[in-house]
Assembly symmetry: C2
Amino acid sequence: MPKPRQKPTIYDISRLAGASASTVSASLSGAWRERRISEATARKVQEIAAEQGYFTNLQARGLRRARSGLVGMIMPVHDNRFFSSMSQSFEAHARMRGLCPVIVSTLRDPAEERRTVETLISYAIESLLIVGATDPDALEQMCRAAGLRHVYVDLPGRGAPSVISDNRHGAEMLTRAILDRMPAGGDGEAGGARALPYLLGGDAGDYASAQRINAFRAVAAERFGPLPEANVIACGYAPARASRELAALCDRLGGLPAGLFVNSLTAFEGVVGHLVTLPPEAFAGTAIGCYDYDPFAAFLQFPVHMVRQNADGLIARAFAMLDGGEEAAVVIEVAPDLVAPRTIYKGPFSELG
Amino acid sequence: MPKPRQKPTIYDISRLAGASASTVSASLSGAWRERRISEATARKVQEIAAEQGYFTNLQARGLRRARSGLVGMIMPVHDNRFFSSMSQSFEAHARMRGLCPVIVSTLRDPAEERRTVETLISYAIESLLIVGATDPDALEQMCRAAGLRHVYVDLPGRGAPSVISDNRHGAEMLTRAILDRMPAGGDGEAGGARALPYLLGGDAGDYASAQRINAFRAVAAERFGPLPEANVIACGYAPARASRELAALCDRLGGLPAGLFVNSLTAFEGVVGHLVTLPPEAFAGTAIGCYDYDPFAAFLQFPVHMVRQNADGLIARAFAMLDGGEEAAVVIEVAPDLVAPRTIYKGPFSELG
DNA sequence: ATGAAAGCGCTAACAA
DNA sequence: TTGTTAGCGCTTTCAT
């Protein structure tokens, strides 16, 4: 006879076990000890449940208990080293707490963000990590109305705790590393605009980029005085766009600038795509850094300093906020690391050690 | 006065709107048209719901309708280019169907896989994509018992449809590309074992690796006759391990082999970590290929052929199986691409052009 | 040590 | 065109 297609419920088990539904419930949810169910009964129920292929219906439990056992995280995209590391940490932390992680990307689209948060609220998630939100205020309002505990990550929000990368510090480190490697300003060879550092990529409207841009300008100003507007080219995250912008910049300058701060890994992908079309001597006089890390990018034909953000640190602190019941709009900053190039320097850079 | 902390229900709305709960339900679920609720009533209800910050409780709806609106996907890890691309596609396809995606990684751990599938079944997901399962048979049994529609992706399972990369074809392409670039066998310089190609990384026990290993052996045999056992070093996915194994191999051979097929991106990371410790002339006589793609790895100091798997194609076909109601254990193969190096060849490789 | 019964928030017959 | 009612599967008092 074919197995009943319907999933068994506690009532099926209760009938088979000759016990009441509540006894079955307790035996199966682990609460049988405190309900003073005899170990024999509990064990028997568990066995029958197992052999019937019974699975607790977590929707029903959630409905009854008014807690779903789900934790949510929204973030811009999955296919990105930084964010996917966060997913990995998020899961680990969720599991530790016996919660089921629900991670959804929102493609940096405010409307999609709102729709997604609404969906997650509707599934009664118990708390929410909001990573890199483009419109935190709208989300804030929704979470607040739903009484949903939430923490902002990577980009701060108002009205709830935020855990963010110390972008200022990271960008300062990276800018200094670039300046240190830049050919001395006075050699006259690449004079004028080419002697100044440029920042390429990212979106000036987002908080993280804005912080980095400020730090970049501040550090560069220590050496060169205030940088012209044109030295910051926040052209977004698309590789193709960054590639085009860099080509255009080279055209204007008559070559690569002496320093280049690339503001995201995807923009860097575009940069590299352009650089490899040039003869090696073309980028010999350029110091390059990238905000964000990729193990292979650290091994390119030319040395690249990279900033590695601490994804796990961010997530760990975010969960700590939730656990601690923090409600205030505190902002925690987590320091990123500067990663030196692992490339073997050949040619013009080898004397720079 | 502070907003009521409790979330409003249809009963709250119904009271405020002077309509019954079922009218509210229909007005809010979009079914009001066919329930012949006047547009005026529906609109009014919707307005009140909006201003009350009402969100449908999807747990309750799911319980009642016996469908949760969730689709699940399990996969080995998030922080991997291939898998995170799948997440991105999976979400897009889920959204198109009005479902909420739940993506969980299981760390290539059979026990974790089982626990996760159990959890997802308990949340009453409507279907499940099983990516790269280490123990498909156990999962098969669970899904079957729960009457859960599922499709295997990347690694085939028995008892349900599978959509997998054409590993044989991909590995053949890659092996041929490597052989074509290998220094001619007869030059005597790197004679004996060093003149043969090696495969490094991956797990011989998993289906994909096994396929690739077979293809590698078959193609190599066309030129060199059957390869010794030792030429396949399936040492897993950890970069550090691959690095050590490669170092040991170089010790044994007195240098790098003439051809190297690296069986995963993570193993390749280890390989690169070792290679850059060598002087450039050390790897001048080696042809390198990697199964899996990374945009930066394609730009390294030495040319690397890479196989790019079609993540979106896999997911699209998997959803097509679900949509089509396919139940049989058919196996669909999706072809990957061979990506030529974009590096500018300098030195020993430049004449190979 | 266990059972009976109410109800979580929603939907779907069935009535009206 | 709308309201009433009976559950979906589970947990949890309150009895016993």
